[in-house]
C-alpha cells in the first residue's frame, strides 16, 4: 500500500458519502469524517498507552478468571452428579414438546406435534398422570441442530420438565443426546432410525433397523427380487441403512447394482431416475427423506418406471407423504412401517377418529404420529408404575410396560429402551391409503446393534 500521490486527497472526500448512511456513530468510534480530512495529525494522536492498557487489562481479567475457575477435569470420576430438577409442585406437571415448527423439517414434524398434543389432551381429560394435569411446553427446533440442543436445555433447566417428546432427524437426536444425558432427563424419540444407539436417557418408540429395514428386505427376498438399487438422502440414516442392506444382500445372495445419495432437500432427480432405469434392477430400496421423495417419484414415473416393472420399497413414506406426493405417482409401490392408518383394531379406530375430529377429516395418520402418540401413553404408564416422575425411577419401571397402541400391542424392552414392534409391509392404494400386504405376525424384539444377525457382525 505504498502511497504515490497525495494531491487529490480532497477528491476522495468529496466522493465519500454518497450513501454514507453508514457513518459510524457508536460509542467508541467517532465519525471518520474528521479522520479523513486530517489523516496525519489524528493518527499520531491516538495514544498508544491507552491501547496497551486496554489489552493488558483484558488479558489480566481473563487470566484471573481462568485461574479462579477450575471445575472438574475430564479424567476425574466425580463428574458432578446433578440430575435435572423436575417441577412437581402445584397440580400440573410439565412436559416438553421439541419439534421443528419452521424450516425444512416442519413439513414432517408438525404432524408429530399434533398427535403429541392429542395424547396429552386425552390423558388430561381422563384425570392426568398421578393426579396431575400434564402441561405441554412447546419449543421450535427450527430444523437447526444447535437450536435443538439449546431448546432441549431450556426445557430441562428453565421449565424443569418431567420428560421431553420429539425430534425427528437423526442429526437433531444426536445434537440433543448429550444434553439429556448430562442433565439426566428423559427424551421420547418417536421416529424410525438407523439403530446403533442406546442412550440411557432416550426411549426409542419408533422402529430400529431390525423392525423395519430387515423385514422389508425379507419381503423382497420372498418375492424373488435379487437385484436391488439403493437411493437415499445424504445423511446418517440412509448411509447406515444402506451399509446394513449391503451386508444383508451379501449374506442372502442378492446383488446391489448401485447406490446413490442426494443432498437433503434436493429436488432434481432426473439423473438418478436415469441411472436406476439403466440398471434394470428388480427393485429399488428408497431411504430418501421429505421433499426429495416428491421429486423422485415424479421423475420415476416420467422415466416410465412403475411398481410392476420395478417396485420401490420406501421407509420414509407414510400417509402424510403419500398425500403430498399424490397417489397418481405412487400407486402400488411398497412401504415398510409398523403402523398404517388402515391397521385393524379398536385402539387404532379410536386414534384415527380422535385425530380427525381434532385436526380435520382430510388429515391422515401415520407411523411417526402413532409412535409419538404411543410414547406419551408409555411415559404415563411408566410414571404410574414408578409412582414418581423421577427419571431414574421411571427408567427402572420401564421394563415390560405394555400398551395397547394403535399399531397393536407394544412392550418396552428395559435393557435397550426400545419397543417390541410388529413389522408391516404395505402397498399404496390409489385412494392414498396404505394396505398391509404382510406382517411379522408378532412383535419383533428390538436389536439396535443387530447382535442377533451373523451377517451384521462387521458393521459397527
Amino acid at each position: 500500500m505504498d502511497r504515490t500521490s497525495g494531491t487529490s486527497r480532497y477528491t476522495i472526500i468529496g466522493k465519500l458519502d454518497a450513501r454514507a448512511t453508514t457513518a459510524p456513530e457508536g460509542l467508541l468510534i467517532p465519525s471518520h469524517s474528521v479522520v479523513l480530512r486530517d489523516k496525519g495529525v489524528l493518527l499520531s494522536s491516538v495514544p498508544s498507552i491507552h491501547r496497551r492498557r486496554f489489552l493488558a487489562g483484558t488479558a489480566a481479567v481473563t487470566a484471573v478468571v481462568a485461574l479462579s475457575a477450575c471445575g472438574a477435569k475430564t479424567d476425574s470420576a466425580s463428574s458432578s452428579d446433578k440430575a435435572a430438577k423436575i417441577d412437581v409442585s402445584g397440580d400440573t406437571v410439565k412436559v416438553g414438546l421439541l419439534n421443528s415448527l419452521s424450516g425444512t423439517m416442519a413439513i414432517s414434524e408438525v404432524t408429530v406435534r399434533n398427535s403429541l398434543m392429542l395424547a396429552i389432551d386425552e390423558i388430561n381429560a381422563s384425570g392426568g398422570v398421578l393426579g396431575k394435569k400434564v402441561k405441554p411446553i412447546s419449543e421450535d427446533g427450527a430444523s437447526d441442530w444447535p437450536t435443538f440442543a439449546e431448546k432441549a436445555s431450556k426445557l430441562i433447566k428453565e421449565d424443569a420438565v418431567a420428560a421431553t417428546f420429539g425430534c425427528w432427524t437423526s442429526a437433531s437426536r444426536k445434537a440433543v443426546k448429550p444434553v439429556f444425558e448430562k442433565n439426566k432427563s428423559l427424551l421420547f424419540y418417536p421416529v424410525q432410525y438407523e439403530g446403533l444407539e442406546e442412550s440411557p436417557y432416550i426411549f426409542y418408540t419408533g422402529a430400529t433397523t431390525n423392525q423395519q429395514i430387515i423385514p422389508g428386505l425379507d419381503y423382497l427376498k420372498s418375492q424373488g427380487k435379487k437385484k436391488l438399487y439403493l437411493v437415499g438422502s445424504d445423511y446418517v440414516f440412509p448411509r447406515t441403512a444402506n451399509k446394513e442392506i449391503r451386508a444383508y444382500a451379501k449374506a442372502n445372495g442378492m446383488t446391489i447394482l448401485g447406490e446413490d445419495y442426494a443432498p437433503l432437500g434436493s429436488t432434481e432427480f432426473s439423473t438418478i431416475a436415469n441411472k436406476v432405469k439403466a440398471s434394470k434392477a428388480d427393485a429399488v430400496f428408497n431411504t430418501l427423506n421429505g421433499d426429495s421423495n416428491v421429486a423422485f417419484f415424479k421423475e420415476y414415473k416420467s422415466a416410465g418406471l412403475t411398481a410392476k416393472t420395478m417396485p420401490v420399497v420406501s421407509v420414509s413414506i407414510a400417509e402424510e407423504e403419500v398425500k403430498s406426493i399424490g397417489p397418481q405417482y405412487l400407486a402400488d409401490q411398497l412401504t415398510a412401517w409398523n403402523y398404517y392408518q388402515t391397521t385393524e383394531g379398536a385402539a387404532n379406530e379410536k386414534f384415527v377418529k380422535a385425530y380427525k375430529a381434532k385436526y380435520g377429516q382430510d388429515k391422515p395418520t401415520s407411523d411417526p404420529m402413532e409412535a409419538a402418540y404411543t410414547s406419551v401413553y408409555l411415559w404415563k404408564a411408566m410414571v404410574e408404575k414408578a409412582k414418581s416422575f423421577d427419571p431414574e425411577k421411571v427408567k427402572a419401571a420401564s421394563d415390560g410396560i405394555t400398551f395397547d397402541a394403535p399399531e397393536g400391542e407394544v412392550t418396552v424392552d428395559g435393557a435397550s429402551q426400545h419397543l417390541y414392534k410388529t413389522a408391516r409391509i404395505g402397498k399404496i392404494g390409489s385412494d392414498g391409503l396404505i394396505e398391509e400386504v404382510w406382517n411379522s405376525g408378532k412383535p419383533i424384539k428390538p436389536d439396535p446393534y443387530l447382535k442377533g444377525y451373523d451377517w451384521a457382525s462387521g458393521l459397527s
Binding site: 453508514t22 467508541l28 471518520h32 475457575a69 419449543e139 444447535p146 442429526a171
Partner: protein, 366 residues
Amino acid sequence: MNLLKGRSARAAAGFAGAAALLFAVAPLLLSDFRLGLLAKYLCTAMVAVGICLAWGRGGLLTLGQGVFFGLGGYAMAMHLKIADAGPGNLPDFMQLYGTATELPWWWQPFANPLFALAATVLLPMAVAAILGSFIFRRRVKGAYFAILSQALAAAFAIWLIGQQATTGGTNGLTDIQGFFGYALDDPVNQRMVYFVIAAALLLLIALARQLVHSRYGELLVAVRDSEERVRFLGYNPANVKLVAYVVAAGMAGLAGALFVPAVGIISPAMIGIVPSIEFVIGAAVGGRASLVGAVLGAVGVAWAKTALSEEFPAAWTYFQGLLFIVALAFLPGGLASLVGLVRRRMASQATDSEETKPVVPVGEAA
C-alpha cells in the same frame, strides 16, 4: 487535541463498562443456562466484529462467513473429539459410521492442541487469503461478491455433508465432553468458557478499533466509497480489501472455535447460506459501520431469536422477518444511527442550526 483525549477517554470508559457488564453483572444476574446462551450470542458478536470491518468499513458484503466460522469450529471440534476419544481410539462417530480403522491423515495434526488452536484462526485466514486474492484481483465486487460468497458457503456445507465417514456428515461433530482437560458438563467450567469468550470478544473489539482508527482503516473506507479514485491515487484496492477480508475470516474462525465448547456441537447447519445471512443481519440491524452497533446488534438479534421463539414457537418467524425489514429498510445505518440522529438533533437544537438533514454526509465539510 481535547477532542481526541475525550475520545480515548470515552473509549476507555466504554471498555471498562463493557468488561464490568460481561465479567461481573452478567454472571451474577443470569442463570447458568442463560449465561451459556449469552456465550453463544457473544460468539456471533465476534463474527459481527469482522463483518463490521469487512462490510461496514470495506463495503464487502461477506455472505459466506459461515465458511470461516465452520473452519474454526471444525478445527477446534476435531481436536476435542480426538482428545475425548483418548490416544489410539477413533472418535465415536467414526467407529459407528466410518470405514477407516485409523485416523484419516488430515485429522492427525489436530491431535496436537497447539496446532489445532493455531488452525482455528490461521486456517480460515489462509483460505480467505487464497480466495480473496483471486476474487479481489479480478475486481469481483458488490452483488457478484455477495452471491459468490453465498455459493462458497453452500458448496462447503454440501461437501462436509457428503463426507460422513470423516466429518460426521449432517450430524456434524457432537457430544463434545471436554475442553483441554476440563469436563464441559461442569457448570464451573461452562462459566470459564463464557469468560474466555467474553475476553476474546473484548480483545477482538480492541483490535478492530485499532485497525479502524489506523491509516489502513481510513484507506479501507476510501476504497468502500470510491474504489476507482483510490486506485488512481496509487493504492491497490485489492490488497486493502484483502486485509479486511482475511481479518474478518480470522475473527469468524475464532468465534467458531469458541462456539464449540460453549454449545458442544458444530455442524453444517452453522455453515450454509442461512446461518451466513444471519451473521450479517445481526451486524446490519445494529449498525454495520459502528463496532458497538454491530456487536450489540448481533447479540440483540440472537437474543430476540431465542426470546421470540420461546414466547411464540409457532409464529416467531413473522416477528423476526419484521424486525429485519423495519431495521434495514427504515434505519439504513442500523440502530447505531439512531444514537447519532438523536445526538445531532440535540446539537442542532442547541446551536439553533438550520441544518436538520437526517443523515449528515461524511464528507459534507469538504
